[in-house]
C-alpha cells in the first residue's frame, strides 16, 4: 500500500520536475534581463560617498518619479501635520503615550514610498532558522545611523540628518536628528554614540581588538568626540573616505556592537557604572560567567526585549523563542511623504523553522508574506507553479554583481609542489577558464537565470570595468584551452589520457561545500569540463567547518564558492583581498606574510601586491579616483585569473522573493547583498497590506 503511494509520489514528483523545467524554459529569457534592464536607470552616479553639506535626498529612480515623495528638506511641500497608527492614537487618547508630534524628532526622516501612500495595520509573517539566524532580524529592521539606498549605490540619512568631512577627509562631522527618541521615549543623543566609543569599543573586556575600520594606519583607534548633544566628530590620522559606508553597516549585524547604544539602559549592565553586587547577581541569574558575556548578549535587542531600539519595530519576544515577534516602535523617527508616522505594518512574526525545506514549504503554501531569506532558488519553478494557489507573487532580486559560483586557485599551495606550480601559472588558470562550458552550467544549475561572467561588479554599478573584462576568458573554447595547456609543457599523457607533468601524474581537487543547494553540481560540471581537456579533477564535497579549517591550514587546492563582495572593494571584508579572514583560499600564506610584516608566509606577486595597494588607497581618496581604482582592481583581478567566475547575477543568494499579493510597496528591482541588509534597504517601514 505504501509502496504504491510512493510510486505515485514519484510519478507526481517527476511530472512536477518536467513542468518546472518547461516553466523555467519559458521564463528564462524574461527574468534575467528584467533586472539589468531595470537597473541602469537607477545607476548611481554618485556611488561613492561624498561628503554632503545638506541632508542628501534619498535617491532611487522609481521614487524620484513619484511626485508625492519629496525629500524632507524640500521647502515647497513641507509636512504640516503628522498622523499615526490607530492603535497608537488610542494610547494617546488614553494619555498613555505623548502625542505624535512630541514623539517625532524636530525634522523627521521622510521615507519615500515605492508605489504609494499605504494603510496601517497587519502582521508580516516571516520564517527564520533559529538563534544562529539572528541576522534575519537585523536585515529586516536595518537599524543604522545611515542606510544604503535601495539600489545600493549611495548612502541615505536615517538617524543622522546630515554629515560632512573636512577637505582632506580626516575629520567627519555627523549631525544627529534633534529630538529623536529611543523606543522607551528616552532622548537619543551624542552620549549614546560616546557610550559605544568609550565604554564598549575602548573597553578591552568587550572589544579585544578594535575593528579595522576604526583604526588609524598605526593601529591606534580613531577618535570619536562629542561637540554638542547632536553633533559628533570622527577623527582619523589619515584620510578616510569610507566612513559613511562603514557606518551604514554598524547596526548590530552578526551580533556586533552598533555604533550607537542606549546608554541610559545599558549602563546598569556595564561594570563601570553598575553596582557590583547587583551586576554579579544578574550575571549569575543569566547563567553567564563574566559581566562581559552578559553585556554582549543583553545588548542584542532580539535577545533582550527590554533593550530600547531606534528601529521601526522592536522585539517583544526573543530570537530563542519559537516565534520572534516585533511590534511597532511608537517613537520611530520616520514618516511617509504625507506625514504618516511609519511603519505601516503593526507587527512582524518570525516563525522558527527547524530546516530550510520546511520554511520553503510554508512559503509555497502562502504562509509567509514576504520572504527571500532561505528561499532556495532551485524551488523557483515550484514557487511559480503555486503562485495562484498560494496567493503570492515571485520577484527576483539578483545578486549585487560578482559571480554566484567561482573557482579560486590557491596561489600559495605548497603541499604538492607540482600542483602548486601549476596553480601559480597564469596560463594554466586561463586555460581552465576557457575549458568551462558556462552556458551549460547556467541552464542546468541556475535554471537559465543570470549570465556567464567573471567576478566583477554588476553592469549598472559605477565600478563596472566594462564588458571586455566581465566576459574575459568566459567563452567556451576547449581547443584554445588544449593549446595553452600544451604550450606550458603538459603534453605528455598517461594511460587514461590525462595530462602529466614531467612524467608524473597529478590531479586538481575542487573542494566544495553544499552551501547553496547546487554548488556540488557546478563543481561536478566544471570537473567534467576539465577532464575533457585532460586535467584529472576530483570533486570533494566537504562539511563547512572542515572546509574552513582547510582554508586556514593552506590545504585547499581549488575551491568553489561565491564572490559577492565586488560592490564593496574598499569597505568590510572583500573576498579578493588576500588579507581577509575568513576569506577565500586564494593565498593564505600571503595573508601571513602581510600580517607578519614579511617575517612568515609567502611574498605576494607584484600583481597581488598591487591589489592590496589599491584597496588601501581606495579607502583614502575621493569618489572619482575610487572609481578608477576599482576598475583597475577588477581588470587586474580578472586578468590574473586567481579566481574564475562561472555564472553571476542570478537570484541564488536569497534573491527569490515570495511576496503576498496584498503586500504593497515592494520594489521590483533592488540591490541585494549583505552589506545592503536586503530587504532592509527596500525600507520595509513603507511596506503595507492592501486588504
Amino acid at each position: 500500500m505504501y509502496s504504491k503511494k510512493l510510486l505515485r509520489l514519484r510519478v507526481v514528483l517527476s511530472a512536477l520536475l518536467v513542468l518546472g523545467m518547461l516553466l523555467t524554459a519559458c521564463q528564462s529569457p524574461a527574468t534575467p534581463t528584467t533586472a539589468p534592464e531595470g537597473k541602469p536607470e537607477a545607476a548611481p552616479t554618485e556611488a561613492v560617498k561624498e561628503p554632503v553639506d545638506e541632508p542628501e535626498p534619498p535617491e532611487q529612480a522609481e521614487v524620484e518619479e513619484e511626485p508625492a515623495a519629496p525629500p524632507a528638506t524640500d521647502p515647497e511641500t513641507p509636512i504640516t501635520k503628522y498622523n499615526e497608527a490607530p492603535s497608537l492614537k488610542e494610547l494617546v487618547e488614553k494619555g498613555e503615550l505623548p502625542p505624535v508630534e512630541e514623539r517625532l524628532p524636530e525634522n523627521p526622516l521622510v521615507i519615500p514610498v515605492v508605489d504609494g501612500i499605504g494603510k496601517y495595520g497587519g502582521t508580516w509573517r516571516r520564517g527564520f532558522l533559529g538563534p544562529s539566524d539572528y541576522n534575519s532580524y537585523v536585515r529586516v529592521v536595518y537599524d543604522g545611523l545611515v542606510r544604503f539606498s535601495p539600489d545600493g549605490g549611495s548612502i541615505v540619512p536615517r538617524l543622522l540628518e546630515s554629515w560632512e568631512a573636512n577637505d582632506d577627509y580626516t575629520v567627519w562631522t555627523l549631525y544627529l536628528r534633534k529630538g529623536a527618541k529611543w523606543s522607551d521615549g528616552h532622548p537619543f543623543t551624542a552620549d549614546d554614540i560616546l557610550f559605544w566609543y568609550e565604554d564598549v569599543l575602548l573597553n578591552t573586556d568587550l572589544t579585544p581588538t578594535v575593528p579595522k575600520w576604526m583604526q588609524n594606519k598605526d593601529g591606534t583607534p580613531a577618535v570619536v568626540s562629542k561637540v554638542d548633544d547632536y553633533t559628533v566628530t570622527w577623527t582619523y590620522n589619515e584620510s578616510n573616505t569610507t566612513l559613511m559606508m562603514e557606518l551604514a553597516n554598524q547596526d548590530g549585524g552578526d551580533k556586533n556592537y552598533a555604533v550607537f547604544l542606549p546608554a541610559h539602559y545599558l549602563k546598569q549592565l556595564h561594570a563601570k557604572y553598575a553596582d557590583p553586587d547587583e551586576l554579579a547577581q544578574l550575571v549569575k541569574e543569566g547563567g553567564f560567567q563574566t559581566w562581559g558575556e552578559l553585556f554582549a548578549t543583553r545588548k542584542n535587542p532580539a535577545e533582550n526585549p527590554d533593550r530600547p531600539v531606534m528601529a521601526a519595530w522592536k522585539p517583544v519576544t526573543r530570537v530563542s523563542d519559537d516565534v520572534l515577534v516585533l511590534e511597532r516602535n511608537p517613537y520611530f523617527v520616520g514618516v511617509d511623504p504625507e506625514g504618516n508616522q511609519l511603519p505601516y505594518i503593526d507587527r512582524i512574526e518570525f516563525k522558527f523553522f527547524q530546516d530550510t525545506q520546511a520554511l520553503n514549504l510554508a512559503a509555497i503554501a502562502g504562509e509567509l508574506d514576504l520572504q527571500e531569506r532561505h528561499i532556495i532558488m532551485g524551488n523557483y519553478p515550484v514557487f511559480k507553479e503555486n503562485e495562484m494557489a498560494g496567493k503570492y507573487r515571485v520577484i527576483t532580486w539578483p545578486t549585487f554583481g560578482g559571480s554566484d559560483a567561482i573557482i579560486a586557485f590557491n596561489q600559495t599551495y605548497v603541499k604538492d609542489p607540482l600542483v602548486g606550480d601549476l596553480l601559480r601559472n597564469r596560463d594554466f588558470r586561463v586555460a581552465l577558464s576557457y575549458a568551462i562550458d558556462r552556458e551549460e552550467i547556467k541552464e542546468a544549475v541556475f535554471l537559465g537565470l543570470g549570465e556567464a561572467r567573471q567576478p566583477v561588479p554588476a553592469p549598472w554599478h559605477p565600478y563596472y570595468p566594462g564588458d571586455d573584462v566581465a566576459y574575459k576568458f568566459t567563452e567556451f573554447n576547449q581547443d584554445l584551452a588544449n593549446q595553452m595547456l600544451d604550450s606550458i609543457g603538459l603534453t605528455e599523457r598517461d594511460a587514461e589520457g590525462f595530462r602529466m607533468k614531467d612524467g608524473k601524474q597529478f590531479s586538481i581537487e575542487i573542494s566544495v561545500v553544499p552551501n547553496f543547494a547546487n554548488w556540488p553540481d557546478v563543481a561536478q560540471m566544471v570537473a567534467a569540463n576539465w577532464q575533457e581537456v585532460g586535467i584529472r579533477t576530483i570533486v570533494q564535497v566537504r562539511e563547512r567547518a572542515v572546509h574552513f579549517e582547510m582554508r586556514d591550514a593552506n590545504e585547499i587546492v581549488t575551491e568553489l564558492w561565491n564572490e559577492d563582495t565586488t560592490g564593496f572593494p574598499f569597505t568590510g571584508a572583500p573576498k579578493f583581498d588576500p588579507r581577509t579572514q575568513p576569506g577565500l583560499g586564494i593565498a593564505p600564506l600571503v595573508r601571513q606574510w602581510l600580517n607578519s610584516g614579511g617575517k612568515e608566509g609567502m611574498e605576494p606577486t607584484p600583481e597581488m601586491a598591487r591589489i592590496v595597494e589599491i584597496i588601501d588607497r581606495g579607502k583614502t581618496v575621493g569618489e572619482e579616483e575610487q572609481i578608477e581604482l576599482a576598475k583597475e582592481l577588477f581588470t587586474l583581478y580578472v586578468d590574473q585569473c586567481y579566481e574564475i567566475g562561472t555564472v553571476g547575477l542570478t537570484p541564488l543568494v536569497q534573491g527569490v522573493v515570495v511576496a503576498n499579493n496584498d503586500l504593497k510597496n515592494i520594489p521590483l528591482t533592488l540591490g541585494n547583498d549583505w552589506p545592503l541588509r536586503t530587504p532592509g534597504n527596500a525600507n520595509p517601514e513603507q511596506f503595507f497590506f492592501d486588504r
Partner: protein
C-alpha cells in the same frame, strides 16, 4: 534486593563522570568549534565577519581557552547543579530543556501508549489466529511498518495532507496558539495536532512490538501446560491471557526501561522534519552547531536516564516474573 539497588545507585556518579568525558570528547570530535560552525552559517547566508569580530565572539563564548579548561569549567558548574549556558541561545541550558520537556514527554508518552494499545492485542490476535487472512494482513503491515523509516513516513504524510487538503501539518500548534499561554483551547489545539506525530513515531515500534509479541506467544502456545489447561476446562480466553501472555510479555517489559531516555530525547529526525518543538531537534541542532554545553547537557541527562531505565526494567522484571525474583533471593 535492597543491596542490589544501592549498589547500582552508587555506580551512577562514576558512570556519569566517565560519560561526561566521553560526551565532551565526542561533541568536540568534529573539526572546528561552535565559532567555526557559526561563521560558516553566517557565510552561507552572505555575511562576512572580520577577524576582530571573531576575536570578540571568541572572548564572549569562552572559546579562547584550551579544551581541557573548557571541560573543567563545564564540570565545575555541573557539580553545582548548573548545566551551563548554551552558546547559540545565550540562555541557560536548563531553561531551554525545561521549556521543551513537557511537550517531549507528552508526545513520547502518547506514542508509547499508542504503541502498546495497538501492538499487544494485535500480537495476541495474530498468534492465536495464526495463518488466517487477518494474521497475514497484520504481518504484511508490520513488515512495511518496520521497514519504512519514520521520517520518510512523516514526509509522505506531510506531502499527502498538503496536496490533498492543502493543509500544512507541521508543528504541534496552530499559529494563533503558538505563543498563547496554556488554556483549554490550546490543549484542544494540541490534541488536534498531536495524533499525526504520535502515529508516525509509534508506527515502527508498534510493528516491531506486534512481531515480538506474536513470536513470543507462539512459542508458549504449543507448550504442554496449555494442553493441560484446556483439559481442565479453562476457557480459551482465560487460558491465553493468564499464562502464555504473561510469559510472552516479559521481553517487552525489559525494554520499557530503554524507553525512558527516548521519552526525554524525542525523535531527532521526525521531530525535525515535522517541526515539533521538543528536545530532539534541540539536540540535533546543538550537535550540528557544536553548541557543546547544550549537547553535552542533553546527552548527559540521556545517559543518566538510560542507567535509571535499566534499573527500572530490572526491578519491573523481578516484580513481574516470580522466577527472576526467586533466583535473586
Amino acid at each position: 534486593m535492597t543491596r542490589f539497588i544501592i549498589q547500582r545507585l552508587l555506580l551512577i556518579p562514576v558512570l556519569l563522570l566517565i560519560f561526561s568525558v566521553m560526551v565532551f570528547a565526542l561533541v568536540q570530535a568534529p573539526p572546528g568549534d561552535f565559532l567555526t560552525s557559526y561563521i560558516a552559517t553566517l557565510a552561507s547566508t552572505g555575511s562576512s565577519l572580520d577577524q576582530e569580530t571573531i576575536a570578540m565572539l571568541e572572548r564572549q563564548f569562552g572559546l579562547d581557552q584550551p579544551v581541557h579548561i573548557q571541560y573543567l569549567r563545564w564540570m565545575g558548574r555541573l557539580l553545582q547543579g548548573d548545566l551551563g549556558l548554551s552558546l547559540e541561545y545565550q540562555r541557560p541550558n536548563a531553561e531551554l530543556i525545561a521549556e521543551r520537556l513537557g511537550l517531549t514527554v507528552t508526545l513520547a508518552l502518547s506514542a508509547f501508549v499508542f504503541t502498546w494499545i495497538v501492538a499487544i492485542p494485535l500480537g495476541i490476535y495474530s498468534a492465536t489466529h495464526r495463518n488466517t487472512i487477518l494474521d497475514y494482513l497484520t504481518t504484511v503491515l508490520n513488515y512495511i511498518g518496520v521497514a519504512t523509516p519514520n521520517f520518510m513516513l512523516a514526509l509522505i504524510l506531510m506531502w499527502w495532507a498538503y496536496s490533498r487538503f492543502g493543509v500544512s501539518i507541521t508543528g504541534l500548534f496552530s499559529r494563533e496558539f503558538e505563543q498563547a499561554p496554556w488554556s483549554l483551547a490550546k490543549v484542544i489545539d494540541l490534541a488536534k495536532h498531536i495524533w499525526l506525530p504520535m502515529i508516525v513515531l509509534g508506527i515502527a515500534g508498534t510493528a516491531r512490538l506486534t512481531r515480538v509479541m506474536r513470536a513470543n506467544l507462539l512459542d508458549e502456545l504449543n507448550k504442554p501446560y496449555m494442553i493441560s489447561g484446556r483439559a481442565r476446562g479453562l476457557s480459551e480466553w482465560q487460558l491465553v491471557m493468564k499464562y502464555p501472555v504473561r510469559l510472552a510479555i516479559n521481553p517487552l517489559i525489559s525494554t520499557i526501561g530503554w524507553y525512558l531516555p527516548e521519552l526525554f530525547s524525542g525523535s531527532l529526525i521526525v521531530a525535525t522534519v515535522m517541526n515539533l518543538q521538543n528536545i530532539g531537534p534541540l539536540l540535533l541542532r546543538s550537535l550540528i552547531n557544536q553548541d557543546m554545553y547544550l549537547a553535552g547537557g542533553i546527552l548527559l541527562i540521556y545517559c543518566f536516564l538510560a542507567i535509571i531505565g535499566t534499573l527500572i526494567s530490572d526491578l519491573l522484571l523481578a516484580w513481574l516474573d516470580p522466577r527472576i525474583r526467586m533466583e535473586k533471593s
